[in-house]
């Protein structure tokens, strides 16, 4: 049963409250995942620390080089409607627009999504493909965790108890790269059976791949980069053969589980199908004259 509810206005106040109440407390941002877990009795915090008035967790900043900082409490909707993000990292916007359903995107936050780290979430693989970093604050200060090290297991992250995610930093993507996010799910509101994020840069007209990053979600115990598939594609001329080969390699890099939405075998196959589709779409978009990110 929840005994008390707080609305701190600074990160520092939030961290103090977390230190004071320890394991009995939970932060709550949009609450779109936490409140479900509480109703299912998976977690039972006695103290809820709302983040909605912590100004430092909101806002999107872009520096002179195009590097981005996204406040952890940025809602999915604010993310995909942000002109700065739509221009700089449309891949993340595509992923954010696929989370849950309309009402969930209105309140749910990007930070909450990655901290919750549920299998089949959408933003994590897009952020991995964007080489994002998580900035966390705890009693001992601030630290930055590259996203490849952030996701440590089902519903687990590298954050320590008492820490709060403050912002997500994304380095400016290389110019001319194109992002495609594909989500395989049966219904709106579902988590992804397979989520594929591709960031691709092509030399034209040769179609030689000069930048490739592949983020995959829903297909292993954590969202991951398909590094071997990337290595295969890097420097190659993008064509059907190399894309097929890369798809096979990616299929060997994942470790899906079977559940009611699909068997492990099916998920593995879908990695191949959706990765090929995403690369083709990205390659098409990247080949258009005057194409931009």
């Amino acid at each position: 049963m929840v005994i008390d509810y707080f609305e701190p206005t600074t990160v520092s106040e939030t961290v103090s409250l977390l230190a004071k109440y320890g394991d009995d407390a939970s932060v709550i941002a949009g609450g779109q995942s936490l409140l479900v877990m509480m109703r299912q009795r998976l977690v039972s915090p006695k103290y809820l620390i709302s983040l909605k008035k912590v100004g430092e967790l909101n806002g999107v900043q872009e520096d002179a080089s195009g590097n981005l900082s996204i406040g952890a409490a940025t809602t999915h909707r604010d993310a995909f409607t942000s002109p700065v993000l739509r221009r700089g990292v449309p891949l993340l916007c595509q992923a954010a627009s696929k989370v849950g359903s309309t009402a969930i995107r209105n309140l749910g936050t990007i930070g909450g999504n990655i901290c919750h780290n549920e299998l089949g979430a959408d933003p994590p693989q897009a952020l991995l493909a964007l080489n994002a970093k998580a900035v966390c604050v705890g009693a001992t200060g601030e630290r930055t965790i590259p996203l490849e090290k952030f996701f440590t297991g089902y519903f687990e992250t590298a954050m320590n108890p008492g820490e709060v995610l403050k912002m997500i930093e994304i380095p400016s993507p290389p110019p001319g790269t194109v992002g495609v996010y594909l989500k395989h799910a049966l219904r709106a509101g579902d988590l992804a059976i397979v989520g594929v994020a591709v960031l691709l840069g092509l030399e034209t007209p040769s179609k030689k791949c000069r930048e490739i990053r592949i983020g995959l979600g829903g297909v292993a115990s954590v969202p991951l980069r398909a590094y071997k598939a990337e290595q295969l594609l890097q420097g190659s001329v993008i064509g059907a053969d190399v894309v097929n080969e890369a798809a096979y390699v990616a299929m060997s890099e994942v470790d899906p589980v079977s559940d009611t939405h699909g068997s492990a075998d099916y998920r593995r196959k879908m990695v191949g199908v959706f990765l090929k589709r995403a690369i083709r779409q990205a390659a098409d978009a990247a080949s258009k004259p005057g194409s931009d990110v």
Binding site: V2, Y5, I28, G31, L35, L48, G100, S101, G189
Partner: protein, 155 residues
């Protein structure tokens, strides 16, 4: 920990006593007797609990009552003015867009939130805005038609 709070619902300031963990849905239904919002699934998928908060569609089963303080909340009960139905309500009747009526408040509010922001949506945009509202009876066709009819000024 009981706290008296003020909630702004359908343009009225209402005082209610809540516990820290109370959901907006339960406060609406059990303390304010605004039973248009329903507890349909308990897993946040069905949208029968949908209300409009701060101009945005939200699932009231996923909002703490305490975090709704200071926000303008619209429920289905607030749509009619002086006994006159809102065009969306008229349209739902005219187009036969409900059978059991359980999902209907949520559907109408989803339509309202969309039209308030985007008065001329396409059919695709309407479908997408209903993505968090499930209906087991109608097959959605007439719901979409009703919302489209209002958007096109036919109602």
């Amino acid at each position: 920990m009981k706290r008296p709070i003020h909630l702004k619902i359908n343009a009225q300031e209402l005082e209610v006593v809540v516990e820290a963990g109370d959901l907006l849905l339960d406060v609406l239904r059990e303390k304010l007797f605004l039973t248009g919002a329903r507890r349909g699934c308990d897993t946040s998928h069905c949208g029968a609990c949908t209300v409009i908060m701060g101009g945005k569609l939200v699932h009231s089963c996923l909002v703490l009552a305490l975090s709704a303080v200071g926000q303008e909340i619209s429920t289905i009960e607030g749509l009619e003015t002086d006994g006159k139905l809102h065009p969306l309500q008229e349209a739902f009747i005219r187009y036969g867009a409900f059978q059991c009526g359980y999902c209907t408040p949520g559907m109408i509010l989803a339509g309202k939130a969309l039209l308030d922001e985007s008065p001329r949506p396409t059919e695709e945009e309407i479908k997408r805005s209903l993505d968090g509202n499930l209906c087991r009876c109608t097959g959605y066709q007439k719901i979409i038609q009703a919302i489209l009819a209002v958007a096109e000024g036919k109602v």
